[in-house]
């Protein structure tokens, strides 16, 4: 009943734009998860797509084998990815900086090879994923998830937990001496990042309807990293903007289709040198909104609620 109504609503949107919208939504979910790990906590992960693949295959297989209700399926996919996040994070998060980055990459590649060799993932042939078992149209699911993830990220960044993550990014030794269990917090951040990647992967699998382990390789991880870096590491609005821009650009700029990766590569170098804070780094969105509306921003209380909406320089 409600499903039918929503279905009609979604059908009002042109199919081509709808597809772009959904892709943007999925990209935002992925970017926000990586932003928490890399932007907020400062732990460079080069294997974000691997967690996406876990979500995609978990979701796909659950739909194929069990025909599970999609909402249960979606959460299971996220949890499965988070489980792997903890499993992988536990041993490697002791490593610092570039070693960590390489280890995430290593694990991602190992996982890809394993998925390419399992029967349940249909090896290198990939899986066709049937329609999800839900009356609610997928685009609505995607955007509801986007909103929930954004809300969760805002809450996280404005909490004692989020502060601890930023402390780790800024100075791990000082964070430890302030009583922050850095290993535990890093693992938690990693698990949340993996969880959201799992959500994104599950949504992606059901939207695209076909998944192959090779789709979730290193270049996918770099794609997501690009979105976060472009928007401004650590900035939630930045990640949303970065994901939207980089997903939409190839659709609207024809030349981008062929030269996409070329532009992305150059962009990363360019951004690091000339604008390491990304597009929205150091920009307070609240102040911009206030200015646009012509109101004077409330004087900041000390307990500011959005001091961390601003992207921070990479540490």
């Amino acid at each position: 009943m409600i499903g039918e109504y929503l279905e009609n609503l979604v059908n009002l949107v042109d199919a081509y734009y709808l597809q772009i919208f959904v892709n943007i939504g999925i990209a935002i979910i992925l970017a926000l998860g990586l932003n928490l790990v890399t932007g907020v906590t400062g732990q460079l992960s080069l294997g974000h797509a691997a967690f996406m693949s876990i979500g995609a295959f978990t979701g796909g297989i659950l739909t194929i084998k069990l025909g599970m209700p999609f909402s249960v399926n979606l959460i299971s996919s996220g949890l499965m990815a988070a489980f792997f996040g903890v499993l992988i994070g536990f041993p490697i998060l002791r490593l610092s900086g570039d070693y960590l980055a390489i280890a995430t990459l290593g694990f991602a590649e190992i996982l890809k090879v394993i998925l390419l060799n399992l029967d349940i993932t249909n090896r290198a042939l990939g899986l066709s994923v049937p329609l999800p078992n839900t009356p609610i149209p997928l685009p609505i699911y995607v955007w509801l998830t986007v909103l929930l993830v954004i809300a969760a990220m805002i809450l996280i960044q404005n909490s004692r937990f989020g502060r601890a993550l930023r402390a780790i990014r800024e100075d791990e030794i000082a964070a430890e001496t302030m009583g922050i269990n850095t290993t535990l917090y890093k693992i938690q951040a990693f698990a949340i990042g993996a969880f959201t990647a799992g959500l994104g992967g599950c949504l992606y699998a059901h939207f695209i309807a076909y998944i192959n382990p090779s789709d979730f390789g290193f270049s996918k991880s770099v794609d997501i990293l690009n979105m976060v870096v472009l928007g401004g590491l650590g900035s939630i609005p930045g990640s949303v903007l970065g994901a939207s821009l980089l997903t939409a650009a190839p659709e609207f700029l024809r030349f981008m289709e062929r030269y996409r990766m070329l532009v992305y590569g150059a962009l990363l170098v360019f951004l690091m040198i000339f604008r390491p804070n990304g597009l929205l780094g150091g920009v307070s969105v609240r102040q911009l909104v206030c200015k646009a509306l012509g109101i004077k921003p409330r004087p900041r209380q000390s307990l500011s609620t959005d001091s961390n909406m601003e992207g921070r320089r990479v540490k």
Partner: protein, 258 residues
């Protein structure tokens, strides 16, 4: 009963014995100064107490409990906090947030608390952490700079911010590594006053400092370190004229201003 006891603690880095069979006691409520020439091992002692380095041998006890093998965050939770010789602030965060992070030990909510951040109990916790942070900032007179980024403060302000951050941990033992370094005489005077105030609030202090006037004027007792080993210990006036101490400093070309 002493607050902190180190018994025959040594640490080696490769061939170098940075701390050698050190016995050290910090008593409740006192200001104990740890002095010695450059490279004597003073900062290493701090790193041992705060769990950043592990002793090669010996035991460290805090309130009777062995803390040798505890992680730095565990040790902070037990009530030891510190400042660093080379400033370790959260540079890209605001002054206020730096201190709020110091107040981490005084809060409880973790990941799930964060997701319930809109609940009254959580908001109450945030408010109490914020007011603790504000108190600490007022104490070091940085309450007018709460929104500045830590990296934009002057050197003396950064040193005071480190102290505020360490106080927000609500320690019973505070370690200060060269708190007066790089300060002008006026700032030093204010800092002395501040440290006395901290002591008066019931916090015991272990301090490393090269400025002898500062040390003599402030400390209840002094321990002198040379080549990682203790060469003297006692009241300021005893240590000042101890031949071994004079020898250690003069032999190395007077690095402190005695």
């Amino acid at each position: 009963m002493p607050l902190l006891t180190m018994e025959r603690v040594s640490v080696r880095f490769g061939g170098l014995v940075a701390v050698n069979q050190l016995d050290l006691e910090v008593r409740q409520g006192e200001i104990l100064a740890l002095i010695g020439p450059n490279g004597a091992g003073k900062s290493t002692v701090f790193n041992l107490i705060t769990g950043i380095y592990r002793p090669t041998e010996g035991t460290i006890r805090f309130r009777e409990e062995m803390i040798n093998d505890k992680q730095p965050h565990d040790i902070a939770m037990r009530g030891i906090s510190r400042t660093f010789q080379t400033i370790h602030l959260f540079n890209e965060l605001s002054v206020f947030e730096n201190v709020l992070i110091g107040a981490h030990t005084q809060g409880k909510s973790g990941l799930f608390g964060a997701l319930g951040g809109f609940l009254p109990a959580k908001r109450r916790e945030e408010r109490s952490l914020a007011s603790l942070a504000r108190e600490c900032l007022e104490l070091v007179q940085l309450d007018s700079k709460t929104e500045e980024l830590a990296k934009n403060l002057s050197y003396g302000e950064q040193r005071r911010l480190e102290i505020a951050r360490a106080l927000a941990v609500k320690p019973s033992l505070l370690l200060l590594d060269e708190p007066a370094a790089g300060m002008n005489p006026q700032e030093k005077k204010e800092l002395m006053e501040l440290i006395r105030q901290i002591q008066a609030s019931g916090i015991s202090i272990l301090m490393v400092e090269h400025d002898m006037k500062f040390v003599m004027g402030l400390s209840d007792r002094i321990v002198v370190l040379d080549y990682g080993a203790k060469i003297a210990e006692g009241l300021p006036e005893e240590v000042r004229f101890n031949p071994a101490v004079i020898e250690a400093y003069l032999g190395k070309g007077v690095s402190g201003q005695c």
